[in-house]
């Protein structure tokens, strides 16, 4: 039993990697193109949605997260939860302060 036996190796083919790379290029084009239009508050939502799709593709295929075990998934996703707390609560705290009367 070896770490590098063929059951554990995941030979993602060059075609899959090329398709992933192409998809990332297209999505980059989409973000740049879409940024020319004004959707008001939805601008940032659209931009972050496309970025997150790209990031997910990179993590799943280039970083092989797709083939990792559950523990790796947990440790990959846990920082995102912390990030959500960090950003979410910073914003919430700032915009719920009672204005100081001068």
């Amino acid at each position: 039993m070896s770490a590098h036996n063929h059951t554990e190796e995941h030979h993602t083919g060059i075609r899959v990697y090329a398709a992933v790379c192409l998809a990332l290029f297209v999505l980059t084009g989409v973000t740049v193109y879409v940024a020319k239009f004004d959707f008001g508050d939805m601008n940032i939502v659209v931009a972050m949605l496309v970025a997150s799709i790209k990031a997910s593709i990179v993590a799943l295929y280039f970083m092989h997260l797709k083939f990792e075990d559950r523990l790796t998934w947990i440790y990959a996703l846990y920082p995102l939860f912390l990030l959500f707390l960090l950003i979410g609560f910073t914003i919430m705290e700032t915009f719920t302060r009672v204005p100081v009367i001068k």
Binding site: V32, Y75, I91
Partner: protein, 205 residues
């Protein structure tokens, strides 16, 4: 880290492969843990960005117009392409194809260098136009976030350079490609962070 991993793998190379298996997955898992701390390192800056953009939306919008979208897009493409070649390099090391491993790692390294050169021209143009980190909060964040990212690109290039040397020394023979895969994970994270920096800084609608 990578060299100790290789040594560790070597010490278990006599007969039983279980040690190698454990080392391989432990090294990968350790890198994922480290990447988590990296995300939170940038997370502080992302939080600051979110806060100040929400407070000063007009300033962010006006300031971002001075960034070069074309250069930013080129750099995004370069970095994605370098992730592609890195993924192929890992694949080549799994298939024990030393020649292609060295070629693909070199291409990845060159892409990193191209990214740096691009960024150098971008920074120079900003300084030339009198834009500095203390110009306003948008540029403070712009320089901090892209600067910290740039440091990561340089570290990544150092790791890739070390991998090229190791490959030339035939250190990844017999399928011991753990350092390549772990180094690859780091490089992909650098790409991943840029994927968010690009729209946040260059494409404020």
């Amino acid at each position: 880290m990578s060299s100790s991993t290789a040594e560790h793998a070597e010490s278990h190379a006599h007969g039983h492969g279980l040690g190698e298996a454990v080392t391989h997955s432990a090294a990968k898992f350790g890198m994922w843990l480290f990447l988590g701390t990296e995300i939170l390192l940038f997370g502080g800056l992302f939080a600051a960005y979110a806060l100040f953009r929400a407070k000063f939306p007009d300033l962010f919008y006006e300031s971002h117009k001075k960034l070069d979208i074309t250069l930013g897009t080129i750099n995004t493409i370069v970095l994605i392409f370098s992730s592609f070649t890195m993924a192929l390099a890992v694949s080549a090391s799994q298939k024990r194809n030393r020649k292609w491993l060295i070629i693909l790692l070199s291409v990845t390294f060159i892409c990193g260098a191209a990214f740096g050169v691009n960024k150098y021209f971008e920074y120079s143009a900003k300084f030339h136009h009198g834009i500095f980190p203390d110009t306003n909060i948008f540029y403070a964040l712009y320089f901090m976030m892209t600067g910290l990212h740039m440091i990561h690109v340089f570290i990544g290039m150092g790791i890739i350079f070390a991998l090229i040397i190791m490959a030339k020394q035939r250190r990844f023979e017999k399928g011991r490609y753990t350092p390549v895969e772990v180094g690859g994970l780091y490089w992909h994270l650098v790409d991943l962070i840029w994927i968010y920096l690009f729209p946040l800084l260059y494409l404020i609608g």
